[in-house]
């Protein structure tokens, strides 16, 4: 089955998914964050754990929000690359986690590449699968 072309409206809605991800995750809105996924959606966390389904996703988000280090950092999402696929779209973007320091200042805690499969469900674009890789990939300690 060939990939369906995406309209400008599709691309804008898909791009906004990741803004909504940031806003929900950075403000502890676990249920809102989980609802960005399809009912059977899954998320590979930065710690390598695979979480599947709305309930498990929401619970994971609540656990994350309970950690003090989650409340002093925000997600800075880069522009997404959106490629149509047979089932929806594949999306990749960079992200930074920016942390507030005490008594003042900020620092970039981590950078990652995020890879998604997104699908239309009940008329809205949702995340079916999310994977993550740290960037830059090269280990500075390794020889070139």
């Amino acid at each position: 089955m060939p990939a369906e072309p995406l309209t400008a409206a599709d691309r804008l809605e898909i791009a906004e998914l990741f803004a909504r991800w940031s806003m929900a995750e950075d403000t502890g809105q676990a249920q809102t964050w989980a609802s960005l996924f399809t009912a059977d959606g899954s998320c590979r966390t930065g710690r390598g754990e695979l979480i599947t389904g709305h309930e498990a996703l929401a619970e994971n988000s609540r656990r994350r929000w309970a950690r003090p280090d989650s409340r002093v950092a925000v997600h800075w999402m880069g522009d997404p690359v959106i490629i149509p696929t047979e089932t929806g779209a594949r999306v990749q973007h960079y992200a930074m986690l920016v942390e507030r320091l005490e008594p003042s200042g900020y620092r970039v805690r981590s950078m990652s590449e995020r890879i998604y499969e997104v699908r239309r469900e009940n008329g809205r674009w949702r995340i079916h699968d999310r994977d993550i890789a740290r960037i830059p990939r090269a280990d500075p300690a390794s020889p070139a």
Partner: protein, 144 residues
């Protein structure tokens, strides 16, 4: 709007892809004009009765006052070594136009590099006037 957007039963206008792209560009223009001292262009991004809530709780209202504000800001040397970065823009249709939330980061050039000076949430009320989207009201909120 040149071509009025469809209106829902509750009076809220839906937003077209063109509307959303123009609103995203409005945010990009805001940073560019503020960071390069294009004061008239910056003030032109607001409705004539536009206003924002300042850091000290003061309101700057009306395009003339906004223009005075931005000119005064640009006169200060410390305003010229900073750049605004915006991301995570979420646009929602509203009865009188659109509501928008976003993240804003202020980065300062220092003697030995760059540092993040501030991270804030931005909350906007936008209106379509004379065929263009404009800021009607803007306020900041602490994300972290």
């Amino acid at each position: 709007m040149e071509a009025p957007s469809p209106v829902l039963e509750d009076g809220t206008a839906t937003l077209t892809a063109d509307d959303r792209l123009e609103i995203l560009q409005l945010h990009a223009q805001y940073s560019l004009y503020e960071d390069t001292g294009q004061c008239e262009a910056w003030a032109g991004l607001w409705t004539p009765d536009g206003s924002f809530l300042g850091k000290r709780g003061d309101i700057v209202a009306g395009r003339e006052n906004l223009l005075c504000f931005i000119r005064e800001r640009w006169q200060k040397p410390e305003s010229r070594n900073k750049a605004h970065w915006v991301c995570n823009v979420i646009i929602t249709p509203a009865p009188d136009g659109a509501d928008c939330i976003a993240y804003g980061m202020l980065v300062e050039k220092t003697a030995d590099g760059y540092r993040i000076l501030q991270i804030q949430g931005k909350k906007d009320k936008l209106r379509g006037e004379d065929g263009r989207w404009r800021f009607h009201f803007r306020e900041s909120w602490p994300i972290i």
